[in-house]
């Protein structure tokens, strides 16, 4: 419980002079939480910001940012953005369809329970498990590759597509779709059957309903979820790390390689500059989204 949740502590902390307002006292209640966030969220962000403008000796420099302009890093940014955007849009559409199929089933039924539980697991179990899953399926000795090989087709068992852009996008679907299901289901649940019935009794068809009622109602939420998926894929590291053992095909891999190079070639400054760039990109997308949101959902308030 917070300090202010306990009247005894609040009373003890009361300043001797009465301000006439009880506000400062109430603010004590949120100190633990905000202090914690300051320490573990704000401070690391400040460290990144500071570090990305500093040389190894702590002097101010912009060279970390100019260093980003290397072909392999530019390519990593490009790849990261493409993977995140494509997997977000496709994942959002597929996830929305799945969520709709789920929401039209019995809310207490086993189907809905299993899909939501499985989505909860898969959305978070990206990473290593996921990489293994696809290696075991379409990797060089994967299940499907072997089946195809027995039929005389060795396209999968030889190619390295899984470790490149298309492969990563496909693999990312595995956590993007479940994440969409989780975050979009509540929005679909909030759609009232009366709205559809009202549309129908006013003479509207199913198309009218989706075009003029459900579509506009769900659009802000759908956009928000898509953005979330973008940020999620953009910052995903584990899957790629387990799947791609060398190179820096996407930015998170580049950061990790720059941080952990054993041969003394670690460049924490550059890593921090990359991290800051990532934060900036996601922030820009978020700001764009909220501008869009403001236009699409005037009715929300």
């Amino acid at each position: 419980m917070t300090a202010a949740g306990n009247p005894a502590i609040s009373t003890a902390a009361r300043p001797p002079m009465r301000t006439g307002r009880r506000l400062p006292l109430a603010w004590l209640g949120v100190v633990p939480f905000f202090a914690y966030c300051g320490l573990f969220l704000l401070l690391p962000t400040l460290i990144i910001t500071g570090g990305s403008f500093a040389t190894k000796d702590g002097a101010f420099t912009l060279s970390n940012f100019t260093d980003i302009n290397q072909p392999y890093l530019v390519k990593a940014f490009l790849y990261s953005t493409i993977i995140a955007a494509v997997s977000a849009v496709v994942g959002a559409l597929a996830g929305a369809l799945l969520a709709y199929a789920v929401v039209t089933s019995n809310p207490r039924g086993i189907l809905r329970r299993s899909v939501t539980s499985a989505s909860g697991v898969l959305a978070q179990f990206g990473g290593v498990t996921l990489a293994f899953a696809f290696l075991a399926t379409v990797g060089q000795v994967g299940f499907i590759s072997e089946i195809l090989l027995q039929r005389g087709i060795d396209s999968l068992s030889r190619s390295t597509w899984l470790y490149e852009l298309p492969g990563l996008i496909l693999v990312y679907m595995y956590f993007q779709v479940p994440l969409m299901v989780i975050v979009f289901l509540p929005a679909l649940d909030g759609v009232r059957p009366q709205w559809r019935e009202a549309t129908e009794s006013l003479g509207g068809s199913t198309w009218h309903y989706w075009r003029y009622v459900a579509g506009p109602l769900l659009a802000p939420s759908f956009l928000g979820c898509t953005l979330l998926l973008f940020a999620n894929a953009f910052s995903a590291y584990a899957t790629a790390a387990a799947l791609v053992s060398q190179g820096s095909i996407i930015v998170p891999l580049a950061i990790s390689n720059l941080l952990t190079s054993e041969t003394g070639r670690a460049q924490p400054g550059l890593a921090q500059a990359l991290a800051l760039s990532m934060i900036i990109i996601v922030t820009v997308v978020t700001v764009l989204y909220s501008l869009l949101q403001r236009r699409t959902s005037r009715w929300l308030r």
């Binding site: 009232r192 709205w195 009218h208 009715w299």
Partner: protein, 364 residues
């Protein structure tokens, strides 16, 4: 659309033996009901008796397990809602939250291919009708429950449907707006001649607005008749008790009359078999007179409470073994404050009797 306004007479709506159950719960158990063209029928009944279900079947929002719905002699049972030309006001608020009040009303018009100018004019008109012109640009969450309900009403009326279904449209309104809007609905309905089904749980409202009133119980129609018939000649004890308060007095049926506490009253069911029965007597059939003598009699008692209802008052009289309710003009009731002794008289109106196993009579 608009040129049809004056020419289109209402159509006949017929519900034939509709049955609907939900996972074991029988919501409708063989409901049959015919609405004459242009007629307003009010459906009255306790909560959960299937009124909303009946309405949804007529609207085409739900499918019946069996039975048919006919519009003007044509079967529409399988037709989806948007092909039925039915206007509906839902029990729960169903405004589109992303549209203003005006846009909500105009939306239905645009689905009916009404041009923008005409749409704007008609939506404005309808909002005017329900007294919400000043709120045209508000979103649903900025309106009170009653205001939302009025917008929903305007939305349903605006498309001038051939059949209008109103599911407790006035339940969220205060008494004044309620009666004004009730009259307004009736006026528009008579003017346009739309066949209308009006669901309510308020008997006073049903009796005031409807051409005929249908009283439902447990998924079927107990009685259908004009308001006066429903009120004064209820066909079954259920109807008698549901429509208005009723005194239950023990009595004995003898030769087409019932004897209650020494008084012989005519029967609604003249063929009732002889034997003990419970007579259902309306409070307004009970008259009171001051009783100065202190002799106990079958119809002499003590006033224990007087509740003021406005023009009339309801007096509760203790008869010793039971209490009886009398409803009289307030001016008369004031002569009998609590504690005074009164002598009762029961007007010789036909009364209904209830027995353990009463078969509902067919009265129309």
């Amino acid at each position: 659309m608009s040129e049809m306004r004056d020419t289109r007479a209402g159509i006949e709506v017929r519900l034939e033996d509709l049955r609907r159950s939900y996972a074991g719960v029988t919501a409708l158990d063989g409901l049959s009901l015919t609405l004459a063209p242009g007629e307003l029928v009010a459906l009255l009944g306790p909560s959960g008796c299937g009124k909303t279900t009946a309405m949804r079947l007529v609207a085409g929002l739900e499918e019946a397990n069996s039975g048919r719905v006919m519009f003007a002699g044509k079967e529409v049972t399988g037709l989806p809602a948007n092909k039925r030309d039915v206007g509906m006001v839902f029990q729960a608020y169903s405004l589109f939250p992303h549209m203003t009040a005006h846009q909500n009303v105009a939306f239905g018009l645009s689905l009916h291919k009404v041009g923008p100018d005409e749409r704007k004019r008609r939506a404005g008109e309808m909002l005017e009708l329900v007294g919400l012109s000043a709120y045209a640009n508000r979103y649903a969450h900025q309106l009170s429950g009653g205001q939302q309900q009025r917008v929903a009403l305007a939305r349903a009326l605006a498309i001038q449907p051939t059949v209008l279904l109103l599911d407790e449209p006035l339940s969220a309104l205060d008494a004044k707006v309620r009666s004004r809007l009730r009259d307004e609905i009736r006026r528009v309905q008579l003017e346009v001649g739309t066949t209308t089904l009006f669901v309510t749980h308020d008997q006073e409202e049903a009796l005031a607005i409807a051409d005929r009133v249908g009283v439902m119980n447990k998924g079927r129609l107990e009685q259908l008749g004009s308001p006066t018939v429903i009120y004064s000649r209820p066909a079954t004890p259920f109807v008698a008790e549901f429509v208005g308060l009723t005194n239950r007095l023990d009595g004995v049926v003898r030769d087409g009359e019932v004897e209650v506490r020494g008084m012989r009253l005519p029967l609604v069911q003249p063929n009732a078999a002889n034997g003990p029965a419970t007579a259902l007597v309306r409070p307004e059939a009970v008259a009171l007179a001051a009783d100065s003598e202190n002799v106990p009699g079958p119809l002499i008692g003590t006033v224990i409470a007087v509740s003021f209802l406005g023009a009339t008052s309801r007096v509760t009289v203790d008869l010793g073994d039971t209490t009886i309710l009398a409803q009289l003009p307030t001016s008369e009731a004031s002569a009998h404050p609590a504690g005074t002794r009164v002598r009762l008289a029961i007007r010789k109106d036909p009364v209904l009797i209830a027995r353990e196993e009463t078969a509902p009579a067919e009265v129309n």
